[in-house]
Symmetry: D2
Subunit: 407 residues, 4 copies
């Protein structure tokens, strides 16, 4: 309903009303115009309708949605089921080309546009979350583990003689598997207990590098977000060590974007030392279904992120990118900020409540200052057999407050 159509419609409905309506439509379309020209996360979230308007407009630009067009090739993005087509808004070409998962597709201008925009908005979102000097971002339609594997493969390709991956140990299977699946040899480095907290054993890491020889080591894989009592790895120290030793450094920041402290840690690390890539989940940080990961690098060195894009063989599902795009457009900067703040508030609240509860059962919350995401509780005196007797008033307070935790 552009100006021309508004004029046409004025013959049917009086032009004053039509013009008012056309202006409203224009306001809505201006949001899209602003997105395309400013190329940044909108200040305020869009309503669902405008998001759909934008995605559908893009979808209509893909060749499989051209009216009066018949395709004869093998890449025509034919979709048999209407139910399937609908859930993808008619988008079916996926992303990428044989050569590069971030490349544009000749037959899919709309999909290509949405994919580019997703990477741009995610870069912005990382900045809002506190990750500064981000130089390159690629959203992969692979969950964190597989994204780590691909990143390791791309790094290994640059260091053909190397085969070890030093890995300050965490008790989580996926990361280990990601290394093994890349046909690399994981060398777990046990942590050091400092007070309650498990921290990176820098001296041991240093000696392992010497023992194995730097040129045989692909990289160190550090971890930020993890279960207490393990704290985030000493990212800055490791980054400095990697720079000195000339070995790679990949950060597993799986669900760390939600924590300002961890984002700040990542920023410091790539400012002060070597960080080749930081990998994070889309589902845990941006609240979308499982299936995507963000691989990011600081402005200091974006070569590995580019190599990852170019290493991706063939095209790929667009769904995880689209989910993130929709979510970020609906949030905008203010909505995203709000989600982050709420997370921090809920964490602090849970911490205080757990401390109070622990006191009543003669236990205590572990002191893990480097873990801003997970909370550990001692179970030292928990010898009691039978059902736990929680003080009555505590139960009440809990049930009353539980609504605060609900979405």
């Amino acid at each position: 309903m552009d100006q021309h159509n508004a004029t046409l419609a004025s013959g049917l409905v009086s032009s004053t009303y039509i013009q008012q309506g056309a202006d409203a439509l224009c306001t809505r379309r201006k949001l899209i115009k602003t997105l395309l020209s400013q190329r940044s996360l909108p200040k305020h979230g869009w309503d669902e309708d405008t998001v759909e308007l934008f995605i559908k407009d893009a979808a209509y630009m893909d060749s499989n949605n051209f009216l009066n067009s018949v395709g004869v090739g093998e890449r025509e993005a034919r979709v048999a089921s209407r139910l399937v087509a609908k859930r993808h808004f008619g988008l079916a070409h996926g992303i990428g080309r044989s050569g590069d998962v971030a490349a544009e597709q000749p037959k899919a201008a709309g999909s290509s546009l949405l994919a580019k925009m997703t990477n741009i908005l995610v870069q912005d979102a990382l900045k809002v979350a506190g990750m500064l000097d981000v130089g390159a971002v690629t959203v992969l339609p692979l969950a964190t583990g597989m994204a780590l594997t691909l990143t390791l493969l791309a790094l290994k390709a640059k260091r053909p003689q190397a085969r070890y991956v030093l890995w300050p140990r965490i008790d989580q299977k996926t990361c280990l598997k990601a290394i093994v699946s890349a046909n690399l040899e994981a060398v777990p480095v046990p942590c050091l207990l400092e007070g309650d907290e498990l921290r990176t054993d820098m001296p041991l890491l240093r000696s392992e590098i010497e023992r194995l020889s730097p040129d045989k080591i692909v990289c160190i894989v550090t971890t930020t977000s993890c279960f207490a009592p393990r704290g985030a790895d000493s990212l800055v120290e490791v980054a400095k060590l990697c720079r000195e030793s000339g070995i790679g450094h990949i950060v597993n920041n799986a669900y760390g974007v939600q924590s300002a402290a961890l984002c700040s840690l990542v920023t410091s690390a790539w400012r002060k030392g070597r960080v080749d890539a930081v990998v994070q989940s889309t589902d845990k940080n941006f609240m979308v279904p499982v299936g995507g990961a963000v691989v990011a690098a600081g402005i200091q060195d974006t070569s590995l992120v580019n190599a990852v894009n170019k290493a991706y063989p063939g095209r790929a599902s667009m769904t995880p990118l689209l989910d993130v795009l929709i979510t970020l457009l609906q949030w905008g900067v203010s909505g995203w900020r709000n989600v982050l703040e709420q997370r921090e508030a809920v964490y602090r609240y849970a911490h205080v409540q757990l401390e109070a509860f622990a006191a009543t059962i003669n236990e205590r919350v572990l002191t893990t200052p480097n873990n801003p995401i997970s909370i550990g509780l001692t179970l030292a005196n928990l010898r009691q057999v039978g059902p736990l007797s929680v003080p009555a008033d505590q139960t009440d307070r809990n049930s009353q407050d539980s609504s605060n935790l609900q979405r």
Copy 2:
């Protein structure tokens, strides 16, 4: 994604691809432009996406969908449930104003536009079906019976002294109820048996007019579509009689639009005599859910249709109009023609098959040349007790052919 946006997007995806996509979008939007400028049923049906595009664009023009707008009145079309809003595409103002169901609403330019367009397309569709010289059409959000009542009330208002409605009898409750609910007195006029068929008893009709006195008679309500062995009323003769006698004439054409013969009959009637309004169902003729009716008049006299619009007190549901609009846009002239032809073909097929079947059980299909919609079967010899023994080969043929009847 107008030209300006395409230029903006070209910075992200190469301009050749973007331009190709923008052209495709333009082709799609051109369909809407053509509809608004030509104001006629499109030659070819639109795909579902373009239909949605059009309706949503219109919905965004209604004040309840304006971004950044807060309403404080009692007519703000607030919708509490997202599920409800979605099924109405955000359209919530309904149609009409206090004064006129066909009037435009200041707060709802889009709804008003869609309502106008519905009436225009239905007028076209009636023409394609064979109803010529249509002068006025209004689609009411009332099913046939209630639409008849409203039409009768509007006619009665013009003839305040009259209270009788002459009604060549059909065995269907709704029409009778429609008369009674208007607080008018129905005077059933029995039909005449001509061969197998029940036809309008013109002499009796004439004598009833004399008996009751023309100025006491609001109108004659004739029927076209009905169950065999009743045939369509002698519309032309009745129309002439009404003109002569100066009494009204309303045609109950409930499911007659689908028959070219009945449409032709209506055309002849308003060309040669008096027809104040022809009422037909939207669900039976246009295959939409129950809820709407079309009140039409020939170019000879459109005053009653206008009076009906003006008689409607207040606003009304838009749903029945929107259902028809969507369906007609998806059909276009060619699709609608196709539906009509298929109906005729299925009717002929059923006729032939029933005749063949009837012969096998020593019965016959009734000869009802004035009923092109329903088929009657004698049951004269059907004395047999126990399950019907259908000849084996007949059963096979039936099951084989049944697919022809399926949609």
Copy 3:
């Protein structure tokens, strides 16, 4: 996924997980079970998914959605457009039969069930809103004006000699039109100014009854919700007068359900005098798209509501009922209560703010204690030409507070 299916699925996924999932499904279905057995508005609102589950289950029970079934009649609820079918959840038969809009349809068990349930839940909702002793409720797929017309027609049928409708005047076109469209004669009775407020002129009403003679009067149509400075009519006094005089009484309670005071007024009226029917809008009270009205009566006399149902000729659209059903299920008692309380709070807030604002421009808010819905402002000193100069701090406060008014 009943117990039998859970057992079958256990071969594919371990039975512990399947059982947990099956239990969750069971919890959801139990909500439906409770609705069907208790037949009252659920305490707490349902989530959208459960609402859809219930409606779709009902839709599958309508014959047009039977698998492997071919219909050959004219009432098969064929729907041509998938887009149309989807927005109606596959429900296409509408409601009612030739004889009664509240009657069940043999081919549409599901639609019939949903329609019955709607009437039941609306009756509950009226009670929650403060309308007590409700004896009969019918939700009509007609907006308020047309519903008034139908109610007047049904009442007139019971009083064939009568033709006048006494109408304490309000300046709103629809109600007048509703009377005229029923081919009845509206006799406006001017209001009396008491202080700022316009109130029912009981003596005049009495004398008009005498003047016209009770047996010539169909009814008095009173109004509750209206624009200030008119207050709600003196319902109790009118109801008593109607009982004395033996004439009908219809209350136009268009948007009065939202006000506890008006609901209470209605209750008193039918407890203490004669009220044949109270008509209210579904869109204004239950926040659904325009298209439906609720006709209610107290337990003292439900005959007119039943007559209205029986007067409705033919079937009718189900949409307005379904919209209300969905909304009420999503609200539940607690959600509906919340909406009502919020309305009262916003009204009080607006009243205070307007008073403060009026003071700054040397005007005042009218004292209209019998109008709990609308607020009037004097414009006595508003002589200024040119743009209104609002005190600067007032503007700020307004913009700051406007968010409170947003939904």
Copy 4:
């Protein structure tokens, strides 16, 4: 609406109608029951509604959709955007666990069930297409290229000393990239020209194995579906050679499922020699959006498919599986067969038309009997400068026939 609910509903609507509706619902649910008990592709396709019913029932079994449940972990499948949640039917947990992409998830019984069912139905679909003795199937949420990389990594893990991949050359970038991305060394083996067609050079392949030494070779990657004039590789001969030499064999069957000839070739290959895995695209074969691949193996050796599942690090997107599941359920055996037959018919038709056309421009269609998917045309005499002059009647015929190619 089980029997218990039907009884409850019978109080509202007469039990005959309710029972009929309940029976219809039962018929629909029985389809699901049959799927769960027989665990095979349904004979006839399901309607869209039943497919949604099944998926939604499963979704309600995932913990994120439990009513009245609050999650506090990091794997709660929280979805921020309603638009995103809707397009995934509420499914958000993805598939797999840290250890195995085919493993079930404790918190997601429904997702796990759907994933299992997808693999089962795809195995059936391969059989219908002509791939016999299928022993293991896994549908990966990775497009063909990345699925090849993962498969190569899993195979390499079993042959740690090997690093070469012998690759009968095709001119397509993705496959080469898939090898390189796995950090393996691709050794292209040029094809042999036999007549018009390019075929596997078996002697050269043999000599390359000797040259590089079998224990240094991970596998041979052969190709079935490709552009003419290259024919499908000599799968059986290569399979035998691989068995003899003790090296792996992976078949790139990207879009070969649609061809009965290629399916038969695969069957022969794994019956007569060594085939570790056959990789095919979901989008090209099952007409879904880009994003998935099927890795299959014959009953002779399913170890690599199992290794691939276990090699997948972490969870993964469910979308590509769900798209295939929906499509196969909507097709059933008969619909899928129909798609396959139509493809073959269109291919033959295009072949004949191209031959006729080629004759008119003094060219010919290449004879490539081992390529049942793509058609090559000589351009030997195409020296003409300027626009191609197509014989007039040919153009007409083309435009006339184009409708046959449209979906």
